[in-house]
């Protein structure tokens, strides 16, 4: 059975049709990239897949549960997490505290009013373990606001991973990060996902090097429709598709498509 299933999802903003009958099925073990030009409906699709937006028609089911309007808390408990395009951290909390928040909430310790967090070995062991996977082990005591941008991005994603979801959706995990850091971040993410038992990754990504380098399935959106849903090799071989969705420059190898 598929983990996450979207059936004939339509999404209208007023009269504008952002998603026009999108059907998708995500299986365990997949790394799926959603690509498409600006305005193709990528972010809307992620918002619908994570229940942030209720589709105008159609349905999204995660492990058989309708996600529309579920809210991030219940979604996280069900096993789906998400990171956003803009880097989002808790500025004054240290790296260690930041990673402790999802761990505490996953273990449902958040309402423990009088328990001493400092003495909770299991939580801090897991914090240290997670930090190590993301190369943040030596920065546990640093407030998040003092980290360089690349580390902030890693911390942001690490805190979503710390929920130990089965499926994680990432909206441009390498946006706002220098080109030289992008591959390092992706290597870290993929490695951490494998170690933490995350079964499927769905990402929205503009950088075709990242898309073709890491995904094993590409969903190309164009004007709210799924134009292609195939392996990277199949997408690369389809010149018409490359022209429409990726841009001519990628196939000629001239660098960034936009």
């Amino acid at each position: 059975m598929s983990l996450l299933q979207a059936r004939d999802v339509r999404m209208f903003y007023g009269t504008f049709c952002a998603l026009d009958g999108v059907s998708l099925s995500i299986e365990a073990g997949q790394f799926v990239s959603i690509i498409g030009p600006n305005g193709a409906g990528k972010t809307t699709l992620v918002n619908v897949l994570t229940g942030l937006l209720a589709p105008t028609s159609g349905s999204v089911r995660f492990k058989g549960v309708d996600v529309a309007g579920l809210g991030p808390g219940r979604l996280a408990r069900l096993g789906m997490a998400r990171s956003f395009q803009l880097v989002s951290v808790f500025p004054a909390l240290t790296v260690g505290e930041t990673l402790a928040v999802p761990i505490v909430s996953r273990r449902r310790h958040g309402a423990r009013l009088f328990a001493a967090l400092a003495g909770d070995r299991a939580t801090w062991d897991e914090v240290a373990e997670t930090a190590a996977l993301f190369g943040l082990a030596d920065k546990l005591a640093r407030p998040a606001r003092t980290l360089p941008q690349g580390d902030k991005k890693l911390l942001d994603v690490a805190s979503a991973f710390a929920l130990r979801p089965e499926v994680i959706l990432m909206d441009e995990p390498t946006s706002g990060v220098s080109t030289s850091d992008k591959h390092a971040i992706m290597e870290t993410l993929v490695g951490a996902a494998a170690r933490m038992g995350i079964q499927a990754i769905i990402q929205v990504e503009h950088d075709m090097d990242i898309v073709f380098g890491y995904s094993d399935r590409i969903v190309a959106l164009h004007q709210g429709r799924v134009l292609a849903d195939a392996t990277p090799d199949a997408v690369r071989a389809d010149e018409r598709l490359i022209d429409t969705v990726v841009g001519r420059s990628y196939s000629s190898g001239a660098g960034r498509p936009w």
Binding site: G71, P72, G73, A76, R77, A81, R82, S83, F84, S88, V89, F90, P91, A92, L93, E97, T98, A100, V101, P102, V104, S105, R106, H109, G110, A111, R112, L113, F114, A115, A116, L117, A118, D120, T123, P143, D156, S159, A160, A162, L163
Partner: protein, 314 residues
């Protein structure tokens, strides 16, 4: 150094009844009571990031509970009074909190202000029930069942009641220390820093804000009941919005991003108010100027001066 200073301060308040003049000891009593109130208010503001402009409602609720029990029902055990104040605060804070925590920032502040003023109007207008502007007297309570009948009012206040209030403040401080250091406290700080992010990593933002609101209310009412004993009166001005404003002033003065800021703020405010009032009739003017200086030059309050860390918003 901070530990030494804290230890010395603790010794000083413990030894004060033997060395300090009675007048100054009676000044410390409201400082202890406000310390409890502000520990609660700061859980809401400093820890969770919600600024209430109506917290005096709960102080007044505690004071009127003490008045109703002692004058109305003849219940004189202070432990029973404090428990009843805490219970009344929780009862009132549940519906108010459910409404207020749906809003944040200025809307939360205005809504709490509105409820505070509603309660003030109720106290002021329902003469038969509340005594109107005259309020209700709060009688001398029994401490742990003992009346201390051989002591005059001042000896009672600066003797057994002084230590009772101090012990209660110590307990309240320890309880709040545990709360702030708990997993719950971490979630509150995460909510303060970035509520959207907190929700995304599974924190029930609205529920935890609600818990913080109720805990703050309970601390407010317990402090209010304690405050009403030395004054001997519960009157509507306790619920007035300027009183809520004073509570916020005390927090800013002491430093809201420091755990002990509320205690320092309460103490310094009371001593400062007493000094300035004895010097000039224009004490409100002086206080306004002090508040302006604190906000502009010492935004992290008095304890921020001792602490070399950069401000958290920097």
């Amino acid at each position: 150094m901070a530990r030494t200073a804290g230890g010395l301060a603790a010794l000083a308040v413990l030894a004060a009844p033997w060395v300090a003049p009675p007048y100054h000891l009676t000044l410390l009593l409201p400082a202890f009571a406000y310390g409890i109130v502000l520990l609660g208010l700061n859980l809401l503001f400093g820890t969770t990031g919600l600024l209430s402009f109506g917290h005096a409602l709960f102080v007044a609720l505690g004071a009127y509970t003490a008045a109703a029990l002692t004058t109305g029902l003849g219940v004189l055990h202070l432990e029973a009074i404090l428990a009843a104040a805490a219970g009344a605060a929780a009862l009132v804070a549940v519906p108010l909190g459910l409404l207020c925590v749906r809003y944040v920032k200025i809307y939360f502040g205005m809504l709490t202000l509105a409820f505070g003023m509603l309660f003030y109007s109720f106290l002021y207008k329902f003469y038969t029930l509340t005594g109107g502007d005259e309020g209700i007297r709060v009688l001398r309570p029994l401490l742990l069942g003992r009346a201390f009948g051989d002591l005059g009012k001042v000896e009672f206040l600066i003797g057994p009641f002084y230590y009772y209030a101090l012990a209660l403040l110590a307990v309240a401080t320890l309880v709040m220390w545990r709360v702030v250091r708990s997993p719950f406290g971490l979630c509150l700080r995460a909510i303060r820093e970035n509520p959207d992010k907190a929700a995304a990593v599974g924190v029930s933002v609205r529920r935890y804000r609600f818990y913080a609101f109720v805990i703050a209310a309970v601390f407010g009412a317990v402090g209010g009941a304690l405050l009403a004993v030395p004054t001997g009166l519960a009157d509507p001005l306790l619920a007035y919005w300027t009183h809520s404003g004073n509570l916020v002033f005390m927090l800013l003065l002491g430093g809201f991003d420091h755990f002990l800021g509320p205690l320092v703020g309460a103490l310094v405010f009371i001593l400062l108010q007493d000094t300035v009032m004895s010097l000039t009739a224009y004490w409100r003017f002086v206080f306004g100027a002090i508040l302006a200086v604190v906000v502009i030059f010492f935004p992290r309050g008095l304890l921020g001066l001792l602490d070399p860390r950069a401000g958290r918003s920097a």
